[in-house]
């Protein structure tokens, strides 16, 4: 009896030990790099790093291009998602999968694909060049790379948001005489908005962090195509503390964005309880 009791407590202890141990190791591994990023070298060297000549051009470019990218993704992605979410066409499902592809392929592959499509010797590059426009290795290319890799985040959120809309609501709206634009702007869009904002925020974060496709398709030219992630890459060869300072900038931004999303979602849950009894 006592032996059985003992073995039960030991097995329970062992269980707790293993669970806490395994989880703790992963937690440490995930947290320690951030601790190092924050503490290594102390605030002076970080401030000095921020004063580096690369910082401000890269920051300006990153903010400008990523905001334009988000704008373009939202502008084109919203109608596309609205159509995809309601389409009964079978190819629409395949299109949805295709649109998710940039998330799972390495960004470098995206960069090569963009280069092969719109580069000077690319599939459509010749046509574009004859029109007097060659986007590769310019700030436009930075935006193109960001749109390519970040659009899926918005698309996924938007297709889901529109797909989740209560079909009865849309049916009732139509029976009341609402034209398709009224239905979209006054019913679908306001109801989907919280998820659209969440998707746009993730898209922004992804665009801001874009590295591989940008490097391949836009290059790494200070003030022109060198965004923050590329500046980090360049700074690493000069001084690791500059790279550290730039990295902290991106971490701070990402953290703020996550905080915003959490708060936003919490408010959402408070204000939008389901309307069913």
């Amino acid at each position: 009896m006592i032996g059985r009791f003992l073995s039960r407590t030991t097995s329970r202890n062992l269980y707790g030990f293993v669970m806490v141990g395994l989880g703790g190791i992963l937690l440490l591994f995930l947290v320690l790099p951030f601790v190092a990023l924050l503490l290594d070298g102390g605030p002076d060297s970080i401030l000095r790093g921020l004063g580096c000549a690369l910082t401000w051009p890269a920051m300006r470019l990153s903010l400008g291009t990523s905001l334009i990218s988000v704008g373009l993704v939202v502008l084109g992605g919203t109608p596309l998602a609205w159509w995809l979410a309601r389409s009964r066409w079978r190819s629409a499902r395949w299109l949805e999968i295709l649109l998710q592809l940039p998330v799972v392929i390495p960004p470098a592959v995206g960069g090569i694909a963009l280069l092969l499509a719109f580069g000077r010797r690319g599939l459509f590059g010749g046509v574009l060049e004859r029109l007097g426009w060659s986007p590769a290795f310019s700030s436009v290319a930075v935006v193109m790379a960001q749109v390519f890799v970040s659009a899926p985040f918005y698309m996924q959120a938007a297709v889901q948001a529109f797909g989740r809309l209560d079909r009865n609501l849309l049916a009732v709206g139509r029976s009341l005489g609402a034209s398709p634009p009224r239905l979209f702007f006054q019913v679908a869009l306001p109801l989907a908005r919280p998820w659209l904002i969440g998707g746009a925020a993730m898209t922004w974060a992804r665009a801001l962090g874009e590295f591989g496709a940008t490097l391949m398709f836009a290059g790494n030219m200070t003030g022109k195509t060198q965004t923050l992630p590329l500046a980090i890459y360049t700074a690493l060869e000069l001084d690791i503390h500059t790279a550290q300072a730039l990295s902290l900038l991106l971490v701070a931004f990402a953290f703020a964005l996550l905080l915003f999303l959490r708060r936003f979602n919490r408010n959402l849950e408070l204000t939008r309880r389901p309307a069913s009894s």
Partner: protein, 266 residues
């Protein structure tokens, strides 16, 4: 609030629904018809076909002289041009709009150009008429089932519909609200005098709100007739089960004094 009594809703449709073929024809004048039948017998599909949310393979749907759908003439009027009031089971109030905004939405869809303020005033008028003025600025989530049902009806009527389509109007309510809503709907349907189709699983709904009954089984019309006749001599097993209330046919027992007895049509 009265409809054109001369406009009849005439429906004759055929639609492949997967497990069976929906094949039904019916005429509804200024009266209320209860559409009953087992689950998955095509009741809601028939309603959706009238609404224009489901395209029949063949047939014709018309309200008076307005042809909504005609497969031979290749006419298919979009839902928003059919002027039908549709009340789904969960009432379909827009959760992001207040009660008065919900009604104003219907007014904004109408042919009349109105300023935002005019719309709001008219919407308030509709709410007042239904005794809902005090709830104007509430969101649907803050309203009881019965209140939501009333607002949904006020909104539907604000769009000046020519017929009324109700899908399980009391199914998502608790028992108390059910009685209250049933009485309110019975009164509204009677005073409106519009062609009304009511899909229901509840014999009490049919008895309180309809004068005729159509029994749909596996997509076919199994029976159609006056409610009193169908209840007295149920033509199918389903119909006899449907109406087998505690009260034997022909004897009206009202166990609850505020029940729907006084609004009964027959």
């Amino acid at each position: 609030m009265s409809g054109d009594s001369s406009s009849r809703l005439s429906i004759a449709v055929e639609a492949e629904l997967g497990p069976f073929l929906l094949q039904a024809s019916l005429e509804v004048g200024a009266e209320s018809l209860a559409l009953v039948g087992p689950n998955g017998s095509g009741k809601t599909s028939l309603l959706l076909a009238v609404l224009g949310l489901l395209k029949p393979d063949r047939g014709r749907v018309a309200l008076g002289d307005d042809v909504f759908f005609d497969s031979e003439l290749e006419i298919e009027l979009p839902t928003e041009e059919r002027h039908l009031a549709y009340l789904p089971q969960d009432f379909g109030l827009f959760p992001h709009l207040t009660a008065v905004q919900n009604v104003a939405f219907a007014l904004a869809c109408g042919p009349e150009r109105m300023s935002k303020k005019q719309r709001r005033n008219q919407a308030m008028g509709w709410l007042d008429r239904f005794g809902l003025g005090a709830l104007a600025n509430r969101n649907p989530a803050q309203l009881s089932g019965g209140e939501r049902q009333r607002i949904a009806l006020a909104r539907a009527l604000a769009s000046s519909p020519k017929a009324l389509l109700l899908d399980e109007p009391t199914a998502s309510l608790d028992v108390e609200a059910r009685t209250e809503v049933r009485a309110f709907l019975a009164e509204s349907i009677r005073s409106l005098g519009l062609p009304t189709i009511l899909v229901t699983h509840d014999a009490k709904d049919a008895e309180a709100l309809a004068s005729r009954v159509m029994v749909l089984e596996k997509g076919r019309v199994a029976a159609c007739g006056l409610l009193a006749d169908i209840r007295k001599v149920p033509p199918t097993t389903f119909a006899s089960k449907f109406f087998s209330s505690p009260a034997p046919a022909g004897v009206v027992v009202v166990p609850d004094p505020v029940n729907d007895g006084e609004f009964r049509h027959d």
